[in-house]
Structure formats: structure tokens, C-alpha cells
């Protein structure tokens, strides 16, 4: 017992005296609780998701009862075709167009669409004309797959690279390399490529293995998918390298890595769609590489998006990778 208490005390003192780790361990839960509470605040629990073309204000004017119905989330769309595609893929339960003569679209095979249609019919004096669409449902697993693979890549890239470099620095291996003609950029680039190869092989194996049993919905090009996921992985490895560029404390690095990965995990659309969240949340999500990777991956897989359609995400990921890698090499310290 005496020995146990001695070790316990020593470890506690070590933890408490490592101010950076302590601050992160305290700050992170607060940030998460407050962040999530604020982001997903509101007492209504939406059951149905309805797209609106022509503005929610117009809808509230011509069908105020429908717009005021609880448990329906209304999401504005600028493009009618985009909304129709979402109904086709069961990503929207219904689409309302109030920009001209009121119409609604439902998927004939959607149970939620069927129920919503009954609600619309029950609204007194409704003038909506029915438009039916057909389309294969995008199963939750198809929608979820890019998110789960993206998250796995994120954790592997950030922690796999960040922690390893911090350990190298702590145990003196980086100092030994510093004594050789090896340059910081060469070292970091080698780490990047090594992890990139590893994660791409793992992701390919996981995807292929699961595909044998689940038969994922893949509408687009595998080459485009490979390009987007490779750039996404490069970008997140570069962030890992930047985080590990100077710190020699594994606990501090862990804190920073958590601070980066948790918001990405929650706000990149990996678990749930950000449609209908506060505008600032959607804007904030744009700073995360995972958001761009998942958006582009979903577009390729679910919609068969060609490369030209995902070029904005490709450019963002490429640019972020270059910036983070250059910054990492610039601030890197061997010791």
C-alpha cells in the first residue's frame, strides 16, 4: 500500500506540474460540453426533414400551419435539382417548391415521405401539387461510410504521426538524426509519405473487405475517390506534423490532438449531416479538412460526382496540406 501511494503521489505530482497537460485536460471537457450544448441547442426534436425551395418565409406565408408544425425540420435549398436529388436518395423526406405554384416532391418508396404527404394533405387549404420521384435509397451505411473511414484516417494520421514524433524527440532519436546531414523537411516528408502509404493501404483493405459483405453504393470513379482520400490523409498528416513540430510532452501533444480531432469528429458531418445547424457551425466546419474530404467522398460515392464537381474540395485539401507541411517544417525543432 505504501509503495502504491508513493507511486500514486509521484504520478499525480507529475501530472499536476505539467501545466500544459493539466490545462488541456480541464479545458477540453468544458469546451466540448459548452460547444455541443450551444451547437445543438433547442428543445425540438425533428423527426422529418423537408427541403424548401423559394424560402421558408414564403412557406410560412402560404402555408403557416405546415411551417409551424413541430418535429419537422425545414432546410432551405437554392437549387431545385439538388433538392430533388436529395429526395431521390432519401436524404430529404420531402421537397417543397414555393417559388412558383406550390409543389412537393416525395420518393414513392420513402415511408417518411408517405407520412409527410398525409400531413401536407391535412393542412387546411393546401395548394401543393404532388410530384413523385424514384431513386434508390442511400442507406445509412452508404452515407456513413465516408465519415467512418474519414475519422479512422484522421485519428491514424494525427495521433500516429504526432505522438511518434514527440516520442522520438523525448527519447533523443531526433537529436541523433539532427547530428546527421538529414534536413527537417526530408524527415517530415518521409514521415508523411510513410503514414500516407500505411493509411491508404489500411483504408483500401477495410473498404474492400466490407464491400464484399455490404456492397457499398459507389456511383463515381474509384480514381477520384483515391485522389480525394489521399489528399485528405496528406492534409491531416501535415496537421499532425505541425502539432508535433516543437513539443516534447506527450501529454501536451495529446491535449492539442484532442482539441483538433474532437471538433472535427463532431462538426465535419462524419456522424450526422450539418444541414439545418446554425450557419456559423456550417462555416466553422469549412476550416476542417475532414469536412472537405467527407463531402467530396460522399459526392463521388452517392452522386457519382465527376472530378470537376469536387475540385473545390481537392484544391482546399491540397492547399491546406502544403501550408501545414511548410509551417511544420518551418517551426520544426529536433530537440
Amino acid at each position: 500500500m505504501k509503495k502504491f501511494l508513493a507511486v500514486l503521489h509521484a504520478r499525480n505530482m507529475e501530472f499536476l506540474r505539467d501545466r500544459s497537460a493539466l490545462v488541456w485536460n480541464l479545458a477540453m471537457p468544458f469546451m466540448l460540453v459548452f460547444g455541443l450544448a450551444f451547437t445543438f441547442s433547442g428543445s425540438n426534436k425533428e423527426i422529418y426533414k423537408v427541403g424548401v425551395v423559394g424560402g421558408i418565409e414564403t412557406l410560412s406565408r402560404i402555408a403557416p400551419v405546415l411551417q409551424a408544425t413541430l418535429h419537422i425540420k425545414f432546410v432551405e435549398y437554392d437549387e431545385l435539382n439538388k433538392g430533388i436529388d436529395k429526395v431521390k436518395h432519401h436524404q430529404l423526406d420531402m421537397l417543397l417548391d414555393v417559388s412558383a405554384a406550390p409543389k412537393y416532391w416525395v420518393n414513392s418508396s420513402s415511408p417518411n415521405g408517405y407520412l409527410l404527404e398525409r400531413i401536407v394533405w391535412g393542412v387546411e387549404g393546401h395548394q401543393f401539387q404532388r410530384q413523385a420521384v424514384e431513386g434508390r435509397e442511400i442507406r445509412y451505411v452508404d452515407w456513413f461510410l465516408p465519415g467512418i473511414l474519414g475519422m479512422n484516417m484522421m485519428f491514424s494520421c494525427l495521433f500516429g504521426v504526432g505522438f511518434v514524433i514527440v516520442r522520438y524527440r523525448k527519447n533523443g532519436f531526433l537529436k541523433r538524426l539532427k547530428a546527421t546531414p538529414l534536413g527537417a523537411f526530408q524527415f517530415l516528408f518521409a514521415q508523411l509519405i510513410s503514414r500516407l502509404l500505411l493509411i491508404m493501404v489500411i483504408t483500401t483493405v477495410v473498404y474492400s473487405g466490407c464491400n464484399l459483405f455490404i456492397d457499398f453504393n459507389m456511383q463515381g470513379s474509384y480514381w477520384n475517390l483515391l485522389l480525394v482520400t489521399t489528399l485528405g490523409a496528406m492534409c491531416m498528416i501535415s496537421i499532425g506534423l505541425l502539432i508535433a513540430a516543437r513539443t516534447a510532452s506527450e501529454e501536451f501533444a495529446g491535449g492539442i490532438l484532442n482539441a483538433v480531432t474532437w471538433p472535427m469528429m463532431l462538426l465535419s458531418g462524419a456522424w450526422f449531416s450539418l444541414e439545418g445547424t446554425h450557419a456559423w457551425v456550417q462555416q466553422l466546419a469549412q476550416i476542417f479538412p475532414l469536412t472537405h474530404m467527407i463531402d467530396a467522398t460522399r459526392a463521388i460515392m452517392s452522386e457519382g460526382a465527376p472530378l470537376s464537381q469536387v475540385m473545390p474540395q481537392v484544391w482546399v485539401l491540397a492547399l491546406m496540406s502544403v501550408i501545414f507541411l511548410a509551417l511544420g517544417a518551418w517551426v520544426f525543432k529536433w530537440e
Binding site: G172, K175, R176, T180, P181
Partner: protein, 294 residues
């Protein structure tokens, strides 16, 4: 002979600490130069500035008469006091890793033979004994065929046999006209290997020269040891150079015959008399006031 490396007025400050306080030295090519001193004397800081790992606060370091440039890392070999290796690699893979970092290298089979690594070539580096690990680290320091090699406390923690084996290896390296800068806590190691030594204390060099020169500067030729209980009271009156060494009294002298005769004439009991030469250990204690690691 022109120095292979020299430093002038080297100063290194850390917050609240002057680690190196204005030292100057020149190291000729082909010698083994020992940097000795107690813990915290500034040896490692000094050697790491010479290695180009740290920048000095002020002062100059010249390698072959030139400031340390980009070629320096290609031309020096370094064995740090504490270092880790890439995990999950064998000895052979580790050698190959470092071989690829340099333009000019020694063939690996040559290094394997020189450092006696043949038996452990396929062993995971995490499973090496202390002596095997130090031999590997020395091989890594030699892999670019450097003219100048830094060894920072290379035998700390090794058993006496492994230490002596390592000395033989260092002597072999030195015989190839390499210049070695060695820091060590072990005075017998410095005596066995070094052609010239500098003793540091509190960031300064307090004594420098060849081991023989320094010993003759500070001491007589030999030291006589007598138990305090046998002759203590008598020795005090004879005007000899007597040093208190716990249970023993030590008499430093250049005239052994005369001193012994004087002790006999004054009735000293010489039954348990011992005669030994002065060592660097004595010198170390004399100039720093501290005991070295033994």
C-alpha cells in the same frame, strides 16, 4: 600541427545558468582529447556546441579553420550520452538507415568487423546489452568515415569488461588517424585513452595538458600511504607533504628513498606502507574538489 577544431571564448547561457564560461581550446588532428569534469561542469554543453547541436551564446568554433558549415555534419561522427534508436529495427537495418543519410560512407561489413557486430547483426536493437549497444552507436558514429569523432560518456553504465573492450575499440579507431573528443567521468578511461585532457569545473577549464604533464605539475612522482593509526602523530612533525585520506595518510614525494629513510629514522611503523603512483583521480579531486565516478 594545425588544430582540426578550435574554440575561442566560448560562452553558453541558459536562463539563470552560465553553463560554459569563456573557454578556449584547440584540438590537434589525430589525438584523443578528453574533456573531464564533475556533473554540471559544462562538458556536455561544450561538446554539443562543438558538435554543432547547440549554438553558443558567444564565441567562435572553427573546424579546419572555418566556421561550422553545411559540410560539417557530413564530416563528423557523434555518439551522444543518451540516445534512442528507431524501434523494431535490427542492427543491420539500423546501420543501413544511417548509411543512407551520408554521401560518403564506410562499407558496412568493414564497420561490422571493426565494432564486432557480426554476432548481433540480425538482433532487434531493443534487445542489445549495454556493451553491444555502445558498439553499435560507435559504428553509427563512424559510418560516414569522419575525421573528427565525438564520444560523450560512451562507457557510462557498462561493466568493467565491456568498458575495457570499448577502450580497445576506441584505440583501434584512433590508430586510423582519427581525432576523438571524449567526455568521461572515469579517470582511468581518460588516462587509458587520452593524449590530452582538459578538466572543467563550473563552466571553465581549470587544468589542461597531457595526463603526465598535469600529474607532474600537481603532484610528486609517487605517493606513500600509511595507516593513520600507525604513524599519524609522528608524520606531522617531519615537514612532509602529507594529505589526509581518511584512515590513511598520503605523503607525496619526488625523493622516495630519502623520504623512507626519514620515516625510519623517526621511528615510523612501515609494516603496512604502500607505494602508488598519482592518478588522474587524485588530480581530479585536487582541482575540482569533487570525487569522480569510479
Amino acid at each position: 600541427m594545425s588544430p582540426i577544431i578550435s574554440v575561442k571564448q566560448l560562452v553558453k547561457h541558459y536562463p539563470g545558468v552560465v553553463a560554459v564560461d569563456g573557454i578556449s581550446l584547440s584540438i590537434p588532428q589525430g589525438i584523443c582529447f578528453g574533456l573531464l569534469g564533475p556533473n554540471g561542469a559544462g562538458k556536455t554543453t561544450t561538446i554539443e556546441i562543438l558538435e554543432g547541436i547547440h549554438m553558443p551564446t558567444s564565441g567562435t568554433v572553427l573546424y579546419k579553420g572555418e566556421p561550422l558549415g553545411s559540410r560539417y555534419r557530413e564530416e563528423v561522427g557523434i555518439q551522444f550520452q543518451h540516445t534512442a534508436l528507431q524501434e523494431f529495427l535490427t542492427v543491420r537495418e539500423t546501420l543501413e538507415l544511417f548509411e543512407r543519410l551520408y554521401h560518403q560512407t564506410v562499407p558496412i561489413p568493414e564497420l561490422v568487423e571493426l565494432c564486432s557486430l557480426a554476432d548481433i547483426l540480425n538482433r532487434d536493437t531493443r534487445k542489445l546489452s549495454g556493451g553491444q549497444r555502445q558498439r553499435l552507436l560507435l559504428a553509427l558514429a563512424l559510418i560516414n568515415d569522419p575525421e573528427l569523432i565525438f564520444l560523450d560518456e560512451p562507457t557510462t553504465g557498462l561493466d568493467p569488461q565491456a568498458r575495457r573492450n570499448f577502450w580497445d575499440l576506441v584505440k583501434l579507431v584512433k590508430s586510423r588517424n582519427k581525432t576523438i573528443v571524449l567526455t568521461t567521468h572515469y579517470m582511468e578511461e581518460a588516462y587509458a585513452l587520452c593524449d590530452e585532457i582538459a578538466i572543467m569545473d563550473k563552466g571553465r577549464i581549470v587544468s589542461q595538458g597531457t595526463p603526465t604533464q598535469l600529474l607532474s605539475q600537481h603532484f610528486g612522482d609517487v605517493v606513500l600511504q600509511l595507516p593513520r593509526s600507525d604513524s599519524g602523530s609522528k608524520l606531522a612533525q617531519l615537514g612532509l607533504n602529507v594529505v589526509d585520506a581518511g584512515d590513511m595518510l598520503e605523503i607525496s614525494t619526488n625523493r622516495l628513498h630519502q623520504t623512507i629513510q626519514q620515516l625510519i629514522e623517526n621511528g615510523a611503523n612501515l609494516d603496512r606502507l604502500r607505494i602508488r603512483a598519482w592518478t588522474l583521480e587524485d588530480l581530479f579531486i585536487n582541482v575540482t574538489g569533487k570525487k569522480s565516478a569510479t
